[in-house]
Amino acid sequence: MPPSEPVATSAAVPLRQPLHLISCASVLLVLSACGEDHGASFRDELGLAADEDGLRAPPSRIHAPPELESLATGQLGPDGEPLRAACVTCHSIPGLAPELELRAEDVGPPHEGIDFQHGPNGCAHCHDPEDRLSLRLADGRSIPMTDAIELCAQCHGPQYRDFRRGSHGGMRGSWDAERGVRERNHCVDCHDAHRPAYPHFTPMPPPADRFAPAGHE
């Protein structure tokens, strides 16, 4: 959880001694400086700032999904790999897509056909109307598309708290911080931002040993 701006405590503390005031002010200064840091930390690691309980998340590396910076074209490139077009290729052209659509079904090519089912939200809930390369937080701040976790976190706090603590989103790599880092998924790696509900799976085959019991219903 991003640390909230600390409540000004100097008003509550008796100001009999100037030392109190100075130490409180310096603590506030340090804490407010930390609060600005969070925008850059998502892509690198979870452990930049300690949570309220004083624990730092173990060293982690969060995957940067290509969907946040480019669009699949459906074609193969000269190296045989799927060809993707960077968002900035089109969205650096002034005047292109000036108005943010109100509904997903009104979006034109190459983004037509967005399957949208994300609660009562509309496009402008997340996308910055001024800049297609940015997302907009609830307080109006604009963040780059690659920092999408911060946007997801402002509504899905419990899931984000669990994600920081390692009980949401899975991981690969090392459980031992001395011998390696955790490789974490980005929210978008598992959840399509426009239709985030987790899909149904076809399960792998069951065991074929002779003791496989039939369950009671």
Binding site: R56, S174, P206, A214
Partner: protein
Amino acid sequence: MTQSTTSRRRVLKAAGATLGAAAFARAVSPVIDFASEISAGEFFQKHYKELSPEEMAVVLRRLEDETQERYGAEVTIRDIRPRENTQFGYALNLSICIGCRRCAEACHVENNHDRATHQSYIRVLELRQGSIDMEHGDATYEHAVPRAGHFYMPVQCQQCDNPPCVHVCPVEATWKEDDGIVVVDYNWCIGCRYCEAACPYHARRFNWHAPEIPAEEINPDQAYLSNRVRPQGVMEKCTFCLHRTREGRMPACLEACPTGARVFGNLLDPSSEIRWVLANKRVFVLKEELGTRPRFFYFFDE
């Protein structure tokens, strides 16, 4: 009556001795077959805990050669000891598990299980919401998951702190190691299956026949106490992938889980994910009333 050198008594003695010898030979023939398939090295091998490092090295080379000979695969078998200040714990989020069985599949591949029976140390039970009674779980479902009104509970060895399987083993072929993992010395196990009967979680597997695995599918990164290819007639179970976890890596089932329902780590590390889950989530263990004190925990998000 003419005098004869053979009497009725001598004939009967000779016939009895011949039949007796034939019966004895028939009776001991299984032992002869058994002895002809076993090498001297394997026959005289000491218990894991009694092997010196040099003797262990000889054993590992012999096992690697046997695997090469029988399966045509070149493997490396190591003896990986527990690390200090490590006690493993594992937790599984029942609010998130969808029952896709990717964990069981990963275990099947990582631990060199028999292909025909699609064996795995993990059984995923589909349970109706409202009860966690394992005996009503269905492990054989084949429909799309998750199914409405049900939840999914993968069950594997719980690495109990008070393990019934260890208590009943008549030859001490299974024991609990210093980092909490309950292991089996496959070369010491006599295959009596008492441990399989004693385990309340159906975590133990018996090798009715030697695993059949194509050479190219064998995982060559093996350890003596975990995923080396087992012989016929011995017990085996989940080892928390000790050939991975004792080197700092995650277990195969955890990395395969697409929903991130599994949490693993060192219970002695206060900043670990497993400690946070145990302190902050609604956690329980299976069959708590039996007093087995598992190291495997289940939790819900709400």
